[in-house]
């Protein structure tokens, strides 16, 4: 079992930076991020290139957007600083007991096809992988496929070709056709992640922004056994 999971076992879920680090260890194409500790947000590094997304990192906050904990398309250092200040104020007033570790700053990716990759524990079949189209709209679009861990390469090829909205994958509105080999590798990596770490009960990579060979998870939740999940 990976040490990131061991360390987070007591908490029952991974914080987003931890989840991203774990995914990176499994060769997911994770963007480099900057982490600004909450007590040092006056010193925003010059090395950050814009636009960015900023997200709060706190063990008490799993659903960041619910508390104004995510701001996107920030264009400058000044804007970033102001965003953090106002987000902090808003969160403190809503959740006064939340312990804010700091702020995760990622490059802002937009304009691609949004897909979702996940894993969930099924009462009959055990851990299952899910691939869906639509990012936050996945439940509405209702185009998703499941397979049971462990999956083979052939199973993954079947998953990808089973999606109903194949037309999205062919490229549209200036988007390059999705590189299915890259997606396949990602699903294999997710399979390995689940197989290696039996403590994982749920994985939610949503959205994943796709543009040709660039398939980038911009958010990640990983929930471990004992945290309310089955």
């Amino acid at each position: 079992m990976h040490e990131i999971i061991e360390k987070a076992a007591v908490r029952g879920y991974l914080l987003e930076p931890e989840a991203m680090d774990l995914l990176k260890a499994y060769s997911f194409p994770i963007q480099d991020h900057h982490f600004l500790a909450d007590n040092s947000t006056d010193n925003i590094p010059e090395t950050i290139s814009y636009p960015v997304v900023v997200k709060v990192v706190s063990p008490q906050i799993i659903h960041k957007s619910d508390v104004g904990g995510v701001k996107v398309n920030i264009q400058s250092k000044v804007e970033l600083s102001a965003a953090i200040s106002s987000m902090r104020a808003g969160i403190v007033s809503q959740l006064p007991d939340a312990n804010i570790h700091g702020w995760k700053v990622d490059p802002f990716v937009s304009g691609g096809l949004e897909i979702i990759l996940g894993a969930v524990n099924d009462s009959q079949f055990g851990m299952t992988l899910m691939l869906g189209v639509g990012g936050v709209f996945t439940e509405v679009i209702n185009d998703s496929v499941f397979r049971v861990v462990p999956v083979s390469e052939v199973d993954i090829e079947d998953m990808i070709s089973e999606l109903k909205t194949q037309v999205f994958f062919e490229g549209f509105r200036g988007n390059k056709p999705l590189d299915k080999d890259v997606l396949k590798q990602m699903l294999l990596a997710l399979n390995n992640l689940i197989e290696d770490n039996p403590l994982i009960r749920e994985v939610d990579l949503n959205p994943i922004i796709c543009n040709g060979p660039e398939i980038i998870p911009v958010d990640a939740r990983i929930i471990l056994a004992g945290q309310g999940a089955a």
Partner: protein, 456 residues
């Protein structure tokens, strides 16, 4: 496991515990059924009063039976079951087929009784089918241990969680002149479940196609292990009910089972190469089709029609079900144009137009045969009184050609006997082109699944 399922399906000896001399009673009818089908093994009857039942002498208890009886059919009342099973285990009976109801499907007390039954069976070689099961049959052994319809002997095996479905499948396959190798109704699946039977049927030389009717899946992981192996050997057609919450609720009251997340089950079934269907009609049609057409090399469908309409219906269905209706190649088109009337369409669907000239069909197929299609569908709305001639040329094509052939013959009432003969000749015959296409698409799904996982 020293107790192979051979002792269940080909028992040297059977005991009916709860045999009765009173016509109409469960214990009478089962004995009558077993005797009437010429079961060749040794039949023992158990009735506490002893005496003669249907010219067989009944003993008064299990203790009077010889040791190691292969299979016992148990129809005694619920309150007798626990001590009876304990006795049977002690006497080394190998398989107990328990018809008696009143267990898990009846609530908490029944559940507790099942738990006790499980304990009794643990650490023994005795297996229990049921409780609350509908029995089973094996026509090749003349074995009819059930109230359901006795089938003619054939190549399709059925594993069902419902007894009546056994009759339903038997009679509907019989309409296509398709017989059964074995069927079994599992009831509450306390001890023996579909995975156990699947494993046995995979290696059964009498069985070419397996059909499963399930209301729940007890052990998904075990099913996955087993099914992947079985699907590589022979096709498995599955109907699993309880898709919707309402359906699942009905299942709860039928056998006390709970259906899981159906989308996951759907994915899992595909992963295992199981061919899932949603309606009984699809169950019969797909089973029949895959029995006659074992493989489709690709998903290219050639459609040959004598009228435009049905050809288009078939082409529409093809696009819904992942089959391609690709244009005929230049050379084929030229050859078709040379033999067909001027007004014929030769693109695919190939519409030879209304004709009484039977030879046009054979000529068209001879041209299309080696064009790389995976299957051909012939649609005929009418027959112009040449229905038997149609059967003849189709049967001949099926025998001489390597191209899988299916027929949609639309004037149902007129051609029932002919369609039956076509099934016999290995040509699936349907009323509706869409049904034919759907069934072919399932054959393709299975063929592809198998091909991708069998590469050398």
């Amino acid at each position: 496991m020293s107790n192979s399922f051979e002792s269940l399906f080909n028992p040297d000896s059977i005991a009916v515990i709860g045999a009765s001399a009173v016509p109409g009673k469960v214990g009478y009818r089962i004995v009558e059924n077993i005797i009437s089908k010429n079961y060749k093994g040794k039949l023992h009857l158990v009735n506490p009063k002893g005496g003669m039942i249907l010219e067989h002498e009944a003993v008064r208890g299990v203790e009077e039976l010889p040791e190691n009886i292969d299979t016992a059919i148990i129809t005694t009342p619920k309150k007798s079951i626990l001590p009876l099973v304990e006795e049977c285990v002690k006497h080394g009976l190998k398989n107990l087929v328990v018809f008696t109801a009143g267990f898990r499907e009846m609530g908490a007390e029944g559940k507790a009784d099942e738990a006790r039954l499980k304990e009794l069976l643990a650490n023994s070689n005795t297996r229990l089918i049921g409780p609350n099961c509908g029995g089973y049959c094996n026509p090749s052994a003349g074995l009819h241990a059930t109230f359901e319809i006795y089938p003619k002997r054939g190549k399709v095996a059925l594993v069902s969680q419902s007894g009546s479905i056994c009759s339903v499948v038997t009679s509907n396959l019989a309409a296509m002149n398709i017989g059964i190798s074995k069927y079994i109704s599992l009831g509450n699946k306390l001890n023996v479940n579909e995975v156990d039977i699947l494993d046995y049927l995979a290696d059964d030389p009498e069985t070419e196609v397996i059909v499963m009717y399930l209301e729940d899946v007890d052990n998904g992981k075990a099913l996955m292990e087993s099914a992947k192996r079985v699907s590589l050997k022979k096709p498995v057609v599955v109907m699993k009910t309880g898709r919707t919450k309402e359906g699942a609720q009905a299942t709860l009251s039928h056998t006390g089972a709970l259906a899981g997340n159906d989308k996951v089950a759907d994915g899992a079934f595909k992963q295992m190469g199981l061919i899932r269907v949603d309606t009984l009609r699809d169950l019969f049609n797909v089973t029949g089709t895959i029995l006659k057409i074992k493989d489709m090399a690709n998903n290219e469908l050639a459609i040959l029609s004598d009228a435009g309409g049905p050809g288009v219906i078939a082409a529409d269905a093809a696009s819904s079900w992942g089959l391609k209706v690709s244009r005929t190649g230049d050379k084929a088109r030229a050859e078709l144009k040379a033999v067909l009337p001027d007004i014929a369409s030769v693109v695919n669907p190939i519409d030879i137009t209304f004709t009484r000239d039977i030879s046009l069909y054979a000529k068209s197929i001879a041209i299309l045969e080696n064009q790389g299609y995976g299957a051909m569908l012939v649609t005929i709305p009418s027959h112009f009184d040449i229905k038997d001639e149609h059967v003849e040329w189709m049967s001949r094509v099926r025998k001489e050609s390597s191209l899988p052939l299916a027929v949609a013959w639309l004037c149902a009432d007129e051609v029932e006997p002919q369609k039956r003969r076509l099934w016999d000749a290995g040509v699936p015959a349907f009323d509706d082109p869409a049904d034919a296409v759907y069934c072919l698409s399932r054959v393709y799904f299975y063929s592809e699944w198998k091909r991708k996982r069998t590469l050398g």
